[in-house]
Amino acid sequence: MTQVVEQPARSEYREHDGAEMLRIRNLHAFYGESHILHGVDLEVRRGELVTLLGRNGAGRSTTLKAIMSMVGRRTGSIMINGTETIGMRAHRIPRLGIGYCPEERGIFASLDVEENLLLPPTVRSGGMSIDEIYEMFPNLYERRRSQGTRLSGGEQQMLAMARILRTGARMLLLDEITEGLAPVIVQKLGEVLVKLRDRGMTIVLVEQNFRFAAPLADRHYVMEHGRIIEEISAAELPSRREHLNALLGV
């Protein structure tokens, strides 16, 4: 039988430290007739934590989906670790070392917690072991036999994050992970992100909760109408805070 999950060839994934992990040029994305992204340009270096900020409908989630080829059509260029992926079939993209955590979390109701955790195929060696994951998220261990969707919102979010840490992905695309969660859970997620950054993970964070994202991120991109309109580094942030607030409408 043909393998449903092919193991990636070693050469597909090249280490080059300090180099660009993600480079997007003139990205357009469409759902049917609607044109959502209008020429997005951005790059993320290895080990960086970068946020995509913007109002609802600015195209932040669509940018992540376009990277994973989950939109109807996309044009332009998306280089992941030096490999052009714009014409690549969707299931090959994660094998370049990408883990994606969708906004709606995507926990599977027909699977229990541990099955959900073990579901995403390994894309590369060097992922966290199941024991390390349970150590990071003790709640998941206690509830490993529960149906995935019976967990609380916070636990589901932990599960959605935890399952992509097992795969060996080195770049995480995280979509609104704090949405609708209690402050104590948000704080816990912040701690997890710091740990992941310290492990050398590259992280792209779509976030509504700017107070959560600001202290974690190296750089911020601000999106509006399907384009990047501003790039702000962590160092520039204090002086440009008011300008940013005006852009985000907060």
């Binding site: 449903v4 989950m70 299931h91 094998r95 995507g106 579901l119």
Partner: protein, 295 residues
């Protein structure tokens, strides 16, 4: 003579066995339908034709290629499964983005083409396929006579059903299948080749039908219309069990066979309609089916 509610025991158990055998076929066929519906969301109207092709492959394989029953048990499902994978890859995939009703129409059309072609060559009267020698005869159990072949059919069908249930509910590949049923786009984003999974699933589903066809060849006349006659009842079974439920398909299939058998004993006039009465009752009380999940 022992009587059960005014019926001789031998007649009672005999009909019960016949009912169970029918139920085993219902279970195998509705299981394949459930697997296919789960991932492809297509009501596979070609399923009866695939069952019929399994039986015909067995008959023609013996006639022209000298393939015996046991080899056919493996080869016929394999051949029909491969044909199913071609159908998925070349036809069903092209209409995957349209309303699922188009899939139903396409598979219905395919069923008519398969049936019509074979009617043209072989007529509708049906041919006999000999019971394999090693399974000829039977056991005298005292209260009834149990033909060896029927016992084998029951065992084989239930074995394959349980194997399928185990594969889907307890293995990693099965977890991909269940998850792919819920959210195929996310499975792709995890690196699972969903289009390949869909092709394999359709192939496996129709291979189950073909396996049932091989089992049926020595029991019923092998005719081009044998599948369409059965399929209507199988659809009722699927509706009763609940669309897409694996365990539901198996249990309901066997149970409906039994109910049909019992009706034959006590009120033969209703034997052909009793399953539809059950279907109506279930739809009134539990519209998602006995094992179906609330939407």
């Amino acid at each position: 003579m022992t009587m059960i509610f005014g019926v001789p025991l031998a007649v009672f158990t005999g009909q019960l066995l016949l009912g169970l055998i029918n139920g085993a076929f219902y279970a195998l066929l509705s299981l394949g339908l459930a697997v296919i519906f789960g991932l492809l969301k297509i009501v596979n109207f070609a399923h009866g034709a695939m069952y019929m092709l399994g039986a015909f492959a067995t008959l023609l394989g013996m006639r022209y290629l000298g393939i015996n029953y046991w080899a056919a048990l493996l080869l016929a499902p394999l051949a029909v499964g491969l044909a199913g994978m071609l159908i998925e890859r070349l036809l069903l995939r092209r209409i995957g983005h349209l309303d699922h009703l188009y899939g139903l129409l396409l598979t219905f059309g395919l069923a008519l083409i398969f049936e019509g072609t074979l009617v043209n060559f072989f007529g509708v009267s049906g041919a006999r396929y000999p019971t394999p020698e090693s399974l000829a005869g039977g056991y005298q159990l005292g209260f009834m006579f149990l033909p060896k072949y029927r016992a084998w059919v029951l065992l084989a069908a239930i074995g394959v059903c349980l194997f399928t249930w185990y594969m889907i509910e307890r293995t990693r590949l099965g977890a991909y299948l269940r998850a792919g049923t819920e959210n195929p786009a996310l499975m792709q984003a995890f690196g699972v080749n969903v289009p390949l999974l869909v092709t394999l699933t359709y192939g496996f589903g129709v291979a189950l039908a073909a396996f049932a066809g091989v089992l049926a060849a020595p029991l019923y006349p092998v005719s081009p219309t044998m599948g369409s006659n059965l399929l209507i009842v199988v659809f009722a079974v699927v509706v009763i069990g609940g669309m897409g439920s694996i365990l539901g398909a198996i249990v309901t299939g066997l149970a409906m066979g039994l109910i049909e058998g019992l009706t034959k004993v006590y009120y033969p006039e209703a034997a052909n309609t009793v399953i539809f009465l059950v279907m109506i009752l279930v739809l009134l009380i539990r519209p998602t089916g006995l094992f179906g999940k609330e939407a």
